[in-house]
Symmetry: C2
Subunit: 369 residues, 2 copies
């Protein structure tokens, strides 16, 4: 979807005309009351569910959650995936041409915020004829967008489903992001963000950044049970090549990621995370920030998520209760750390499924397919 009207950004900058990749699933009902916006996290895209052709590798990033008969059932709901502004899966971002210079934006691409994304998504809904969402849903950074929707466009959201998220990054969260950024920015192939012109990518820095991120997505327990101290070759090598399975795994993750993800986008998305802090404008009072919300809420956290721990979800729950909002909260026992929100955990999926059945009743929805 191309948008000609410039988008004013929270930074004060203005995004000129831009395009967003959008993918939808299911059918919008006659009253347009069954739409669910699914917001993606750091490295995902508009491709939420389904496959392109027969290749299972092309499955959407939340394909276990969204589809016919799945917890978010596309026989009943019209699901919308949007690749956010600044990302690198077809939407306008740092790799796009800046009309003012005729060259790729690079690191000069404006720093976006969660609020800017929400505003851009609202225009997508307008285009699709969706006035009010049955639900906005997301995990991690996607959960931040879901929360922001309820504050920024309260009349347009019936329900908010936010998983494994936080009302703001902690100092430790920011610290990990900053190290990742330093790894990218200090890679000589970064060229101040203009690596496109040099025909290179800061692959090593991006790889290190991803390795750092990956450690924070997994729990200590998962790493212990999946890799432990297992050696790849059966004996110590007494050198700096791969000895342990965990090293091999992380290197592989880093290399794979640096082969498809844009480094400037990575910088941008970590800043989007850092900057999200709706309470800040209200003297640090999250309840005051959420006072405008009118939605009903489901919050889900995972016991071993040390990136955005259950305590951070409980902060949100408490702030919503202080506003007498209706809120359901599930703290799922899972060994899988932050990544659990993307996984097919039966108890978790049951909770989401039950909640969407409740939305179905609330909004008196019927199957459309």
């Amino acid at each position: 979807m191309a948008f000609d009207t410039p988008l004013p950004l929270r930074s004060g900058a203005v995004m000129p005309g831009y395009a967003l990749m959008v993918e939808t699933y299911g059918t919008l009902n006659a009253n347009a009351t069954n739409a669910v916006l699914v917001c993606h996290a750091l490295n995902a895209s508009h491709h939420v569910a389904g496959m392109y052709g027969e290749d299972p590798k092309t499955a959407g990033w939340w394909d276990n959650m969204v589809g016919p008969g799945k917890p978010l059932d596309t026989r009943r709901f019209f699901v919308i995936g949007v690749n956010n502004l600044g990302s690198c899966f077809g939407s306008t971002g740092p790799t796009s041409i800046d009309p003012a210079t005729g060259r790729p934006w690079g690191s000069r691409f404006p720093v976006i915020t969660v609020e800017d994304w929400v505003d851009a998504q609202a225009r997508v809904l307008d285009r699709l004829g969706v006035t009010r969402l049955a639900a906005v849903m997301g995990g991690s950074l996607g959960g931040m967008q879901a929360l922001s929707w309820t504050m920024r466009h309260p009349e347009r959201v019936a329900h908010c489903v936010a998983c494994a998220t936080t009302p703001s990054l902690s100092a430790q969260n920011i610290a990990f992001n900053e190290v990742a950024r330093r790894a990218i920015i200090t890679d000589p192939e970064f060229h101040g963000g203009d690596y496109y012109a040099h025909g290179v990518v800061p692959r090593q820095g991006l790889s290190v950044a991803r390795m750092i991120g990956h450690i924070t997505y997994l729990s200590d327990d998962t790493m212990a049970s999946k890799f432990g101290r297992s050696l790849r070759g059966g004996a110590l090598g007494y050198g700096y090549d791969v000895d342990f399975q965990i090293e091999s795994y992380l290197r592989h993750q880093g290399e794979k990621f640096s082969g498809y993800f844009d480094a400037n986008t990575y910088l941008l998305l970590t800043r989007v995370l850092d900057y999200f802090d709706p309470a800040a404008e209200h003297g640090g009072d999250l309840a005051a920030a959420l006072a405008s919300a009118r939605a009903r809420f489901l919050l889900v956290s995972f016991t071993t998520d040390w990136r955005f721990s259950p305590e951070r979800s409980r902060e949100i729950v408490r702030a919503l209760l202080a506003n007498r909002r209706e809120v359901s909260y599930a703290e799922i026992a899972s060994p899988h750390g932050h990544d659990a929100f993307l996984m097919d955990e039966p108890h978790y999926h049951d909770v989401i499924r039950a909640y969407f059945e409740r939305i179905t009743r609330d909004l008196a929805l019927e199957d459309v397919a």
Copy 2:
């Protein structure tokens, strides 16, 4: 201290003649029964206590613990600090000349292990006329050396004091080390470890490595209370320069460290950590590994240490109890994470002080100064 006799290493390599920096405090008594070996962790040295001249910046790394009237009282104990083989504070290491090539060892310096260090330290004791230690003491990687002493030279250790340590790194611990190594090795200024010949140092990689390490030394709580989401300039910059105080702090730590620490030594010391695993030779049975120990033990851990958590110390305690060893264990409530072992925490220092008074009685020691 120069040593001409080659040192056989666990890897199968042999270290030719080498030199170790040694610093001692207090006076060895007539029977040589009051010696305490203090083992250093990653980035410390032989300079355990005291100052060089008047400059407080030159204080030893454990000066709050070791000195006249301090928990490890140098009026009574003869304290020995050794800069370990492979380190970069004057002992033979990667920056030293390899006699076989006439060039600096660089990354060809043999990969050392905790056990090799212990053997090298034993030769230092021989030279000093110390047959048996009143105690061997260390924190973190230093605690591993203290534990190893009790297994490798059981008759030479009366007491072992091991703080904030672990019987082996977890997969997550190794993961952080591996990312740090990748940051160094993929820095183009690393030149395969031969950066000395190029007149450069892999400063950016070393800086990123240190930033990663630093995050793991502090607790989430400490970071939250010390930095939180405080901004350095009072407003968001909407860019990738420093916005948050935590970013400024970490960058400063990284830059400072990369100005004085050798990158090859950093690689080496992370491998020493990775490889320590005394249980591995006994089918993973730590109690079997510790069966040879004859010392009495004090183990100390800190509640918010998520690098080497209290649970890891408890593993050691259980393995010692299975061997009917005498072991005292203190789990100190501290907000300071792994770094707590270096800090002046009253309860912690009281425990150490009391334990050294017990050693005094055990060995019938008297003040020598």
